[in-house]
């Protein structure tokens, strides 16, 4: 019996090695990235072609108007497949096992394009017909890895900044918005002395904790901080990033945040700002979408405002998310790949006006008008995008779980120094796995 077992074990190992062939099944079939791709006309006939788009739960209805228009124009069929959250993990796992759609919503940042192994798995979008239509400030802001464009930006990238309650400011007699970090903190302390909770943070849901650190790094980011971190010339434990973590911790210790900071959730945060229980929240665009769930545009326009903040001024920090962009896959089938490029051409071409109207979103193209249904705070966030600097997600080659370690700090299980150490250790591990120089 034991001999038989041993024999079986040997067979299994041999079989599994032969099956996997010691290679990653998630390797793209095509070799399109090297050659200049052709761009079919937007209305070329695609009868009999079926394109698949992967989307997350919150982006699954984003392409509705585009799909309707494209199907009518070309005769193609476009299917949206919703991948369960956490979306990025789901997509990466599927791609790793060799499963690919024609297109997918994807965060167009360097770290996330690297995570998909862009040079192997994604089509190059260099020379795309829609590029000249973009606002020149936005054209090259994201979606590019190692000088190749892999992602098509379809909506205004999200930015980190301050959402505030206008009537709380009014009651407290605040008329001028902060013009730099010092005046921002001074305003917080003034509100605190008047008995108002200045800032609201969601330590329970964790993911927004990193924005406070990142906006403090805006000046350093402009000065090439993330290039140095990427080359392992500077670390999270060095004074710049450690200082931002320490600064955040000091403000929490000072009592400038909500009392339930350790357990508060994303929903709590939105409700608190709307109700005026807290004056300000450092957040990204999806926070405003949350407010839209809770209230109507008219109320939001009169109650909620937005301003960007950075150490020396009002520079915003941009962080494009998965709803902002799409990538096209190297599926190995030339016709499918061309059809996917054609859909993108239509999306950012003849279909773009319908898209921004349908989504009530800010247009990236000067020739396409933004609908007047876009709320003021979102428009203000969009206005801050040109001239903004990249976030860690946008510029660093890897995206460590800084937010989890910061939430640990808020819960009291990590010191600020341990937060930086854990983040650096994870960053180095990811960089090593990528084969980055210097790690």
């Amino acid at each position: 019996m034991s001999k038989a077992l041993r024999g079986m074990a040997v067979t299994v190992v041999a079989a599994s090695m032969a099956l996997t062939g010691c290679s990653d099944p998630g390797t793209g079939g095509g070799d399109g990235s090297g050659e200049a791709a052709s761009w079919p006309a937007q209305d070329s006939d695609l009868s009999g072609t079926t394109l698949t788009i992967w989307a997350a739960q919150n982006s699954t209805s984003v392409p509705d108007s585009v799909i309707a228009g494209f199907e009518q124009l070309t005769g193609a069929e476009v299917e949206v497949e919703t991948i369960a959250d956490p979306y990025e993990q789901g997509v990466q796992t599927r791609v790793a096992t060799g499963d690919m759609p024609d297109l997918a919503f994807w965060q167009p940042t360097a770290s996330q394009l690297t995570a998909l192994n862009a040079s192997e798995n994604l089509q190059s979008l260099d020379g795309a017909p829609w590029l000249d239509g973009y606002d020149p400030d936005l054209r090259d802001i994201t979606g590019i890895l190692d000088d190749t464009r892999y992602a098509a930006l379809v909506s205004m990238p999200s930015v980190e900044g301050v959402y505030y309650n206008k009537s709380v400011f009014e009651t407290a007699g605040v008329t001028d918005l902060p013009t730099d970090w010092d005046s921002f903190l001074a305003l917080g302390r003034q509100l605190d002395s008047q008995g108002v909770t200045p800032f609201f943070e969601m330590g329970g849901d964790r993911w927004a904790t990193q924005w406070w650190v990142q906006v403090q790094l805006a000046d350093a980011a402009q000065d090439g901080l993330w290039d140095r971190v990427n080359a392992n010339e500077e670390s999270f434990t060095d004074p710049t990033i450690q200082g931002a973590i320490d600064g955040y911790d000091a403000l929490i210790q000072e009592g400038l945040f909500n009392e339930d900071i350790a357990t508060a959730t994303f929903e709590d945060q939105g409700a608190a700002l709307l109700a005026g229980d807290a004056a300000m929240v450092v957040q990204v665009n999806s926070f405003f979408n949350q407010l839209q769930e809770l209230s109507d545009t008219e109320t939001l326009n009169s109650d909620i405002g937005f301003f960007p903040i950075s150490p020396s001024g009002n520079t915003a920090t941009y962080i494009p998310d998965q709803t902002n962009a799409l990538v096209a896959f190297n599926t190995g089938d030339d016709d499918q790949e061309a059809a996917a490029r054609q859909l993108l051409s239509y999306w950012l071409g003849d279909g773009y006006q319908d898209f921004v109207d349908d989504q009530s979103t800010v247009s990236l193209m000067p020739d396409v008008t933004t609908p007047d249904t876009v709320p003021d705070a979102l428009q203000a966030a969009a206005d801050s995008v040109s001239g903004s600097v990249g976030s860690m997600q946008a510029l660093a080659i890897a995206n460590p779980d800084l937010y989890i370690y910061l939430a640990d700090m808020i819960a009291g299980t990590k010191t600020p120094a341990e937060v930086a150490e854990a983040t650096q250790a994870q960053f180095a591990e990811l960089a090593r796995a990528q084969g980055a120089d210097g790690f």
């Binding site: 299994v12 996997t20 990653d24 990466q92 995570a115 329970g204 819960a411 854990a422 084969g435």
Partner: protein, 314 residues
């Protein structure tokens, strides 16, 4: 079920069968052809043995989402993981969690079994009610409890109503006690299964023995402590081993309630593995699950050996 097997076997062997074939092996040959096992074996091979063996193999490579080639790196992953304290932290949390679940689940299951031991209509209905959580989705259970245990959730509202003051306890936000709370939720979900097995165990205890004890003047507690609990040993073995080793692989209940928070105090190894896999570090995640596999195996041997030893009294 195991309980019944263990206790019935000696009687079968020595009972109504001819003494010439005490084990009955020879005569069973004609029952079913061996190849009937083939479909089951194929499924086990493809969906269990093959992945487990690939697990060993991939743990020694640098497989990640960042590159197409997979190369052999030896034990690099293992050394890196042990150098970084997070793995040991997660392993410690996992063992604490598993022990808590095993204790709570068995305690609840045994108490329920004793309470619902008699066969009447009310007890039958109660048994079904307590078994329902077992067949519920673990994620659903987790989300229901997450809503109940929020600072403004149902439990605090009920406590506030009873005490007449506003109660704002963050049940899932305490870095010391939340692991106990999530272990209680896990135990609550599975206690119905333990109950069922303890009930089956209690049913097999010979009524004559208990009657003799009662005639000798033994109290309820005496009969439980000296007769019934020792005779339940096989059920304890099964329940304790499955609860302990099963919750070492815990993930869903904790992911739905705390996601490993607050402050990482409920980050089970499987949650850490999930997070690492999500970062695209497939080989590292594989190595961790290998560590978990080995840990569970190492724990299983002494635990089951000790529990089986308790059965020697039978």
């Amino acid at each position: 079920m195991t309980m019944t097997d263990l206790r019935e076997r000696p009687r079968l062997d020595g009972g109504d069968q001819p003494p010439a074939a005490p084990r009955g092996k020879r005569r069973r040959r004609s029952d079913h052809p061996l190849w009937f096992l083939a479909p089951a074996l194929v499924v086990v091979f493809v969906f269990f043995f093959l992945p487990t063996l690939s697990n060993f193999f991939y743990a020694l490579t640098d497989w990640s989402s960042f590159k197409s080639e997979i190369s052999f790196v030896g034990t690099d992953n293992l050394t890196a993981l042990f150098d970084n304290g997070t793995l040991l932290d997660a392993l410690r949390v996992t063992v604490v969690y598993a022990v808590l679940v095993a204790v709570f689940q068995n305690l609840f299951g045994l108490v329920l079994a004793l309470l619902l031991e008699r066969d009447n209509r009310l007890n039958r209905v109660c048994r079904v009610l307590f078994f329902i959580p077992v067949i519920m989705s673990a994620l659903a259970v987790g989300y229901v409890f997450q809503a109940l245990l929020k600072p403004d959730g149902g439990l605090n509202q009920a406590l506030g109503f009873l005490s007449g003051t506003e109660v704002q306890i963050a049940w899932l936000g305490n870095t010391t006690w939340t692991i106990v709370v999530v272990a209680l939720i896990h135990a609550w979900k599975w206690m119905g299964l333990s109950m069922l097995i303890y009930l089956a165990g209690l049913k097999t205890i010979n009524e004559d023995v208990l009657e003799a004890a009662r005639l000798d003047g033994a109290t309820w507690w005496d009969t439980f402590r000296r007769i019934r609990f020792p005779l339940l040993a096989p059920a304890v073995t099964f329940n304790f081993a499955t609860a302990l080793l099963g919750s070492m692989n815990g993930f869903d209940v904790v992911q739905a309630t705390t996601e490993g928070g607050p402050g990482g105090t409920t980050e089970l190894l499987n949650i850490f593995i999930f997070r690492t896999f999500g970062q695209g570090l497939f080989a590292q995640a594989t190595t961790m699950s290998l560590v978990l596999f080995v840990t569970v195996t190492l724990m299983a041997v002494p635990v089951i050996w000790y529990l089986r030893k308790r059965e020697d009294v039978l």
